[in-house]
């Protein structure tokens, strides 16, 4: 009897994925500047969606305040690069670490709340972060700050190279994020998470430390979200409290993406992001209507097909692109 993880579909998907990845790395040579920008945006949303999904779909921690860490990462990066003179490529990971560190006391506070109250608690935290940022004159206070040209140039000399660097950074962050989440889910901890998600009481009776597991997931997610945040605002070249901590941009869209794509699966956020951007490019730039439409679709999905688009596909075909579930092979048929 063996426990295997891959199926033939997931093996094929992995191979295809590798090829796709190589093609994407080469993008600065075959894509236009606008396409590079778009792809970079997609990678960052895939990252945010994957992280939110880990938190909510796997650990059961529904946060509507992840913008706290997006903004924290952005401001952290700006502070390190502008005020402390740290090189860009060092400032980004440092901002991520800072995000993870600040998540520790935050978690200790808001883990006292459960369910929907936890969710609103995360919102309060985001508000506090926003208000504090608006009170910090060194980072521009309420009106924000712009990244000085010198720092921008330090990334690379030519504009083309800078665009390429920003693109590669985004791609790298996405691979790092999805890879990390994948490894977590594949590990013992990941199994614990699935057990917790399916039945918390049973999981606890098996000796799984629920609090520690959730805490770990929360802190790691915060750090990686901060990393994405730092990168977002490196690209925007400008940061302000409202943009950094925008619930619409960093939470509403992300949640809708994950719900529609398929919550609780690794493939869901990716599919959801692709769908989101495909729709956005075909619809004219109508932010408000788009949000309403997405909201309606997300509600409909939640009521009628809670496993989302990927959930429906997987139910029909049994396909799994990421080898995550464990199959037991080789059990003989029972007698009689």
């Amino acid at each position: 009897m063996r426990v295997t993880r891959s199926s033939s579909v997931s093996k094929a998907a992995m191979a295809v994925g590798l090829v796709v990845l190589l093609v994407l790395v080469a993008a600065p040579w075959w894509a236009s500047r606008a396409d590079l920008r778009l792809m970079g945006e997609i990678y960052l949303y895939v990252s945010l969606a994957t992280l939110w999904n880990l938190l909510a779909g796997y650990a059961g921690l529904v946060s509507v305040g992840q913008q706290a860490y997006v903004g924290f990462g952005g401001y952290g990066f700006f502070a390190l690069a502008m005020l402390a003179g740290v090189p860009v490529l060092v400032a980004l990971p440092l901002a991520a670490v800072a995000g993870a560190l600040v998540a520790v006391p935050v978690a200790m506070l808001i883990f006292r709340l459960r369910g929907a109250y936890f969710a609103i608690g995360t919102w309060v935290v985001a508000e506090v972060f926003r208000l504090v940022a608006a009170q910090t004159p060194a980072l521009g206070g309420g009106s924000g700050a712009s990244l000085p040209a010198s720092i921008v140039k330090s990334l690379a000399d030519s504009r083309d190279l800078r665009e390429a660097m920003a693109y590669w950074l985004a791609l790298g962050v996405m691979v790092l994020t999805v890879g990390t989440v994948f490894l977590i889910l594949r590990s013992r901890r990941g199994l614990a998470l699935t057990a917790i998600r399916d039945n918390e009481l049973a999981a606890r009776s098996l000796g799984i430390d629920i609090w520690r597991t959730k805490f770990f997931v929360y802190v790691v997610t915060a750090g990686l979200t901060a990393l994405v945040g730092g990168l977002i605002f490196l690209q925007k070249l400008r940061i302000s409290p409202d943009a950094a901590f925008s619930a619409n941009d960093w939470t509403a869209f992300v949640i809708f993406i994950v719900v529609i794509g398929g919550i609780g699966t690794l493939e869901g956020p990716i599919i959801g992001t692709l769908l989101f951007f495909a729709l956005r490019e075909t619809m004219a730039e109508m932010g408000t209507i788009y949000l309403i439409a997405l909201g309606v679709v997300a509600i409909a999905v939640m009521l009628k097909a809670p496993t989302g688009l990927w959930g429906v596909i997987r139910a029909r075909t049994g396909a799994e692109l990421f080898p995550l579930s464990r199959r037991v092979q080789g059990i003989g048929r029972p007698e009689g």
Partner: protein, 287 residues
Amino acid sequence: MEWLNAILQGTLLGGLYALFAAGLSLIFGVMRLVNIAHGDLIVLAAYLGLVISAGLGIHPLLALVLVVPAMAGIGYALQRGILNRTMGDDILPPLLVTFGLSVIIQNGLLMGFSADPQKLQAGALETASLSAGGLTIGVLPLLMFVTAVAVIAGLQWMFYRTALGRAFRATSDRQDVAQLMGLNRAHVFALAMALSLAVTGIAGVFLGIRTSFDPSIGGSRLIFGFEAVIIGGLGNLWGTLAGGVILGVAQAVGGQIHPSLQLLAGHLVFLLILAIRPRGLFPKMEG
């Protein structure tokens, strides 16, 4: 004297926060549902008040006569049509659906009314004040506070002295067994939501009279209501009033220290209470 005045203003403001919170507290008590769209529904009520009072040329407080039943109807339809389908053991559906509703309402209002700040005109009431012992008490804040106390007293009376209140308590205790009594669960939940939004209607109109509003402020109203509930303790309506007052006073004192610290002071007091008394000051039930 300024400090005393600030504390007084904060206390009265707490009445408004308690009104924000009462509806939230009610539906959590009856059906363990937290409505993330609650704040946006308060704003919706304010816009409803605007449309009705401007359209009929009547005073906003008079418009309450129409706003409250309208909001109650919206609440009943919302619960029966959509939210009842999310009730169950899984926490994700109600959370995500009410989140979606929040975004839809906010953006719907944005589309309908633009982002321009609006205000309900209450005429002389807005500036009228009473003097007592060197303190000036605004008539409007006093009215808000008294209304909040009356609403909470009314809700308590309803809960403990009427058949509807019995039905709410029984359904909250044991949904299944309540059905055995002939209570249609879907209907009871919808009535609770209708009542919650009726209170929200009052809160929204008062909000609109007190400050200018626009579609985006729903989120922070929800947070104030939520903080009042948590500070006061779950399942206790009078506790919610106390929570609202504490929040209002914290904000007022913070604002007295420095105007930009007003909101932050409220949040910090909330976080402090969460840290040292996670169940709130006067809890009556578990989260």
